[in-house]
């Protein structure tokens, strides 16, 4: 399982990059969901969001899930390319699979990579 150390993690399996403001689904989450066939970003550029607010709706071949904002702030950018290529959430969750970028807010109480790894391994039993 890939858990980059430069990112922060939420209990609802989103990653957050405090330096760029980008967020997305973790590798753990995409693996649990299996093949992702549809993603809809629920917020638009310029919209202000609260931490914990749903920002994306994801459907895989076996489940549907929502992604929640790991931080408050204003949406500065939305990854429009995901609508056409939802499968990048599986293949490149921390890169091309970013969902939205946020600016000017306060992140929730997030985990670092080591804490998140422990959190995931506890759930897999």
């Amino acid at each position: 399982m890939n858990i980059p150390t430069n990112l922060k993690y939420s209990k609802t399996d989103e990653w957050f990059d405090p330096s760029s403001g980008a967020m997305g689904l973790t590798d753990y989450a995409q693996e649990q969901l299996s093949d992702i066939v549809f993603v809809e970003i629920l917020v638009s550029s310029g919209e202000s969001v609260k931490a914990g607010q749903p920002v994306a709706s994801v459907e895989s071949v076996k489940a549907a899930a929502e992604s929640y904002s790991p931080s408050s702030g204003e949406v500065s950018e939305v990854n429009e390319a995901l609508a056409e290529k939802p499968e990048v959430l599986n293949s490149d969750p921390y890169g091309a699979g970013w969902m939205v970028k946020l600016k000017g807010g306060t992140a929730s109480d997030l985990m670092d990579a080591a804490e998140y790894e422990k959190y995931c391994s506890e759930r897999s039993h």
Binding site: V37, F38, E40, L42, S57, E59, S60, V61, K62, A63, A64, E66
Partner: protein, 450 residues
């Protein structure tokens, strides 16, 4: 599958497990006097007596089998080939419900897949779901889809006053509590004009525009221009259709529709006093994730053989919960099958022929009625197999007179449209012979003299 009821031994074992002495003790919370109430029923009948009594009740009904019918208004009297019932009643098919363990029911899935394919080619659209309850609920699901498409951010829907009044009522029932505004069909709406009359309601707040084709009065309009105006405002365009008419008319797909829905009853389903019917729902591929209902897809199994599956199920409410487009994913499996069998038996040529017969017979009837003193066709717009006539007397009076002569008359438009008092909507299908049409014309003339 064999159904094996519990044996007395198994029941005793269960009672011991839960610590209850007898079956009666399980029901002790129900006061004894209510457990076996005296139902005050008449003496029991033998099967032969019961059959005779029930047949007596059934025979009290007057139907399209015993009467000549010119009643339409959304439900039409068409010939139903005998083979349909034979196929429907096969044990493999004879359950009206959507399969819960779908992949084991390959036959059912294939039948739905064929149905979906037929519906998309009929409407000129790209995808179809496995069906809804009826035409009215299919229209309402179009509203749900448009609402979901814009994530509730567009709060207005424009509906033509010439959409079936029952569809409009159902749409209002489904959308109450969704903080939507439905406009375009208020009581004073202009009924003489074409599609352009609702154009002025379309704006940036509009999620959906709904029209009917042919409209409730039987009229045929090309909606291409209206579809363009709808798209210019960023909204979705929905057309509710009569499937029989599509056998000979330009498809809504060609006009630029985003959603095409309709009542499937004319395709091999009996009128049977109002249901069960079939709602079909088709749309474009780009909207498939927002479409309600089940979808059957074709794939290959692990041995490379053609197989059918329920696909894109994560859209549905049992998985997506409140974010799903609709809280209904039931389909009318048996009736969808009936329509698929109907279209397959008739083929493209046969279905075309049914539509042509309807068209020509209706035009013959309209022409004859229009010649009668006191009667006049309301509109000079092209029509399919149904037309509105302004009458010299109240429609109820005319229909009562027709009934005396074994004819079920037309639909009284005044009950839904106060402006159309004394207007009758007459439907003619392939089932009506020239003699029957001539008799209708004769009686209509007779009534006007009374």
């Amino acid at each position: 599958m064999t159904y094996i009821p519990h044996s007395p031994k198994e029941r005793d074992a269960m009672l011991v497990t839960i610590g209850v002495k007898s079956l009666e003790e399980l029901f002790k919370d129900i006061p004894a006097k209510f457990r076996f109430p005296d139902l005050d029923l008449p003496p029991a009948l033998t099967e032969m007596e019961a059959a005779a009594e029930l047949a007596g009740y059934a025979n009290a009904n007057e139907t399209s089998q015993t009467f000549v019918s010119f009643l339409g208004a959304g439900v039409y009297n068409h010939y139903i080939p005998a083979a349909i019932d034979h196929i429907l009643r096969r044990g493999e098919f004879y359950t009206a419900y959507t399969p819960y363990q779908p992949e084991i029911s390959q036959g059912t899935l294939q039948a739905i897949f064929e149905y979906q394919s037929l519906m998309t080619s009929l409407t000129g659209m790209e995808v179809s779901n496995a069906s809804h309850y009826d035409g009215a609920t299919a229209v309402a699901e179009a509203a749900n889809m448009a609402y979901a498409q814009f994530r509730g951010k567009r709060s207005k829907m424009v509906i033509s006053p010439t959409v079936n009044p029952q569809y409009r009522a159902t749409l209002r029932t489904y959308t109450q509590g969704m903080s939507l505004t439905l406009v375009g069909d208020d009581a004073g709406a202009n009924l003489d004009g074409g599609p352009e009359t609702i154009e002025r309601f379309i704006d940036e707040e509009t999620a959906l525009v709904v029209v009917q084709y042919p409209d409730f009065f039987g009229r045929i309009y090309d909606y291409t221009q209206l579809a363009e105006s709808t798209h210019a405002a960023g909204a979705l365009f929905c057309v509710a259709v009569n499937p029989t008419a599509l056998a000979i008319l330009k498809t809504p797909g060609e006009m630029g529709a985003d959603i095409v829905v309709g009542e499937g009853q004319p395709m091999g389903i009996p009128m049977s006093f109002g249901g069960p019917y079939l709602g079909f729902f088709t749309t474009l591929k780009k909207y498939i994730h927002k479409m309600a209902g089940r979808v059957v897809g074709e794939t290959v199994d692990n041995r490379g053989q053609r197989a059918f599956v329920l696909t894109l199920t994560a859209r549905e409410q049992h998985i997506k919960r409140e974010r799903a487009t609709s809280n209904i994913c039931s389909n009318q499996g048996l009736l969808a099958l009936a329509s698929a069998v109907y279209l397959s038996l008739l083929g493209q040529t046969g279905f075309h022929q049914v539509a042509e017969l309807c068209y020509h017979k209706a035009h013959y009837a309209a022409e004859q009625i229009n010649k009668l003193k006191g009667y006049k066709l309301c509109f000079d717009t092209p029509f399919f197999h149904e037309f509105s006539v302004c009458c010299p007397k109240p429609v109820a009076e005319i229909n009562a007179h027709l009934l005396e002569h074994g004819i079920i008359g037309g639909y009284d438009l005044g009950q839904d449209y106060p402006a159309l008092k004394d207007h009758i909507l007459i439907a003619v299908t392939e089932m009506n012979t020239k003699e029957e049409i001539d008799l209708l014309v004769e009686i209509l003339e007779e009534v006007s003299h009374d």
